[in-house]
Subunit: 271 residues, 2 copies
């Protein structure tokens, strides 16, 4: 039985037209937001990112109040779970051209929090090096859009449930991100994350960690990160809005002792 | 009023779940097929391509008979129009992983033939050089998949109705295709079309023209095509399954006299 419920343009349980451009072309953006006791965590940052991503595609994002009110309809005050927000360019007959102010399709879905193993947080995770590489497309880089076939192919390279994430490189071999995560690498007091100007998704938790780093005595930076640099790092941490932060302890033939960074980050991210 | 009708997994007028992976990730493939007097043109080639594209994404394509029968339900014997077929990996809760034999979502839509100006065929077309460039992704190149944001961005670079197509280059500047078309370039008795190993969609009409070229006394080839080579060609022709073939007569500061190739191709393609 599904625990999912949803609103489409504010209508409970409504369905999507086969003519929606979100389906036809992946012409839209999305967010995945943790909800605790009715509150979408980091909502202001998520909304700013949703609006900015929409603007880059020329899609008009509905005001924050509308999203906020509809999330409140799906999540009562005591509810926790995941809110997935999708915004598409709306319905059109065939053809790539779009009208500049077409009516968008706004979807909010409520799902349960994923059942991640507790040891992912307490012991760290094993990570697969993906053969699927991210293409360079600066016009779409950083945006959490609906064209995610690269992530689908990468995620399905492994089926071992002991492997919790996959690390993706770009076509030139630079480290970019996880399949569902961003990545940070600590070397001494430097905490770096890859530049996402050519590909990748610039997540909200990545942004939060860049802001939080100084409070841990770490100097954040955005860099071109090579695989050899990652392999020599003191700690490698992956992050997203649902699980917070996990340390990578087994990747590409190397193991790392469990450190403190991911635990500290998770604590602060949940405040 | 919409002239569209559709079947979803054989159900008339059914809608798409917001959980469909076609919407969430663009996780699927499609075909656009001209239908004349109830007959989907070049169906055998379209089906082989649909099945081959699905296989490359690990999606199980339903048998040809099912698609054929459902098209017959949407198009009576005297009907003409467009059949758009979409196949997605089906419904799933959040997450990129997929079950190997999940139930797919099969959509057939009937729409009217686009109302292209007659002069596109008789006089040729003006074409825009797109600033949006195609990313290199060999794992997806050639496939008519649902991740089409590059085409959306490219198509919306121009709004002049006198411009009928846009020409897309890849990130390295090689000529690849039109926004909704493939491209051929004739120089003397050579008829070449770009290689699509890194990006682009390998259309059915492109394949047909490669097969037909010798019957016109032309030698077909698949090449890396530069923009300067295209500019010096004797004739440039764009093609797809709906309009057949149009000659490019105005592009990037050059005009071409109207030749015979596009007219000849269109006649044979419609047989």
């Amino acid at each position: 039985m599904s625990s999912t419920s949803f609103l489409v343009n504010g209508m409970p349980g409504a369905a999507i037209s086969p003519l929606d451009r979100g389906l036809a072309y992946g012409d839209g953006v999305f967010r995945t937001i943790a909800v605790r006791q009715g509150q979408p965590l980091l909502w202001d940052i998520h909304y700013r990112k949703l609006a900015a991503d929409s603007a880059r595609l020329g899609i008009t994002c509905p005001p924050a109040d509308i999203w906020r009110e509809e999330m409140a309809r799906l999540f009562a005050k005591q509810d926790s779970g995941v809110a997935k927000l999708i915004l598409t360019r709306g319905i059109a007959e065939r053809g790539y051209a779009f009208a500049p102010h077409a009516e968008t399709t706004r979807i909010i879905m409520r799902t349960a929090l994923p059942a991640y193993p507790e040891k992912n947080a307490s012991e760290g995770i094993r990570v697969h090096l993906c053969a699927t590489r991210l293409a360079h497309q600066p016009l779409l880089a950083g945006i959490k859009h609906l064209n995610r076939l690269e992530n689908v192919l990468a995620r399905n390279e492994w089926h071992d449930p002991e492997i919790s994430e996959g690390l993706m490189l770009d076509q030139e071999g630079w480290v970019i991100e996880g399949v569902m995560s961003n990545i940070f690498v600590r070397s001494g007091t430097m905490l770096v994350t890859p530049a996402l100007e050519q590909c990748g998704v610039a997540g909200v938790t990545r942004q939060r960690i860049l802001e939080l780093a100084p409070s841990f005595g770490l100097t954040p930076d955005i860099v071109h990160l090579s695989l050899p640099e990652l392999m020599q790092a003191d700690e490698v941490v992956m992050c997203n809005s649902l699980y917070g932060a996990w340390q990578v302890v087994d990747f590409n033939g190397r193991t790392w002792a469990k450190g403190e960074l991911s635990t500290s980050l998770r604590r602060v991210l949940q405040e």
